[in-house]
């Protein structure tokens, strides 16, 4: 129950950060990715600000036995660099470069009620479900 509050609070602050930083605007993201045009350094400053907090924040969490509202930490455990990691990052990079939206800003932009945003989020969900189904099918074979 308490985890719900923690998640809501984190989501609200995360969403506010996306709006204030300008990262909900595809024009700013594409402006950063467009290194041959009029370059917009915004995304680098956003990443810098985020990591300035998260690097020490995550490091401090390492030393703790359990989080404040849950039974245990769920740290990602994988360390290997495999083909799905790289191929997936390429596919994500193509989609991100075409539209200028990644999952966080896309979901926060649902607040605009624009049909194109709903289309993007639904397509994203379809892509995820389709991959899960395909991988599930492959594992069974």
């Amino acid at each position: 129950m308490k985890m719900l509050l923690g998640a809501l609070l984190s989501g609200l602050i995360f969403g506010a950060g996306l709006v204030i930083s300008g990262m909900t605007q595809p024009a700013k993201v594409l402006g950063f990715l467009d290194i041959f045009g009029v370059w917009d350094p915004t995304l680098a400053f956003v990443m810098g600000g985020a990591l300035a907090v998260a690097l020490p924040g995550f490091w401090l969490a390492r030393g703790r036995e359990r989080p404040l509202l849950a039974k245990q930490f769920r740290w990602p455990t994988r360390k290997d660099i495999d083909a799905p990691l790289v191929v997936g990052a390429v596919l994500f990079g193509i989609g991100w470069g075409l539209v200028g939206l990644c999952p966080g800003p896309a979901i926060t932009n649902l607040a605009t009620f624009m049909p194109q945003i709903f289309l993007f989020v639904v397509a994203m969900a379809v892509g995820m479900v389709a991959l899960d189904a395909w991988q599930g099918g492959r594992q069974r074979r």
Partner: protein, 140 residues
Amino acid sequence: MVPFDPASAIFGGVLIGAAATLLLWLNGRIAGVSSIFGDAFDAGGTERGWRVLFLVGLVVAPFLLAATGRVMPEPEMPHWLVVAIGGLLVGIGTRLSGGCTSGHGICGLARLSPRSLVATGVFMLTAVVVVAIVRHGIGG
């Protein structure tokens, strides 16, 4: 074009980093939006509720900010066909590589994860190439 505002960029970034740190300290979970979104469909029990609430927070945030006078600008979107293809690729790609700009780009780099460093480098570089091709023609 929207003018570059370094103070807002850094402040917004600090909020994003604080939100990711908060989710870790409070819930012990990683604030990777693609995984939270993707797993909200099929995760059962206690792992679904918090994911849905995090996503609700993402969508409600612009309304709270608007109440304080900071209105989120409408995003400029390309042709609907590009939107659909882009969304599909973002869904498949983040699911396959296990993260997006938040999971790999912020939380992963904050953990100094080699997987996330590779993923972030690859999707950034790929997106730069795609934008160069779309905006300036092949070869930049």
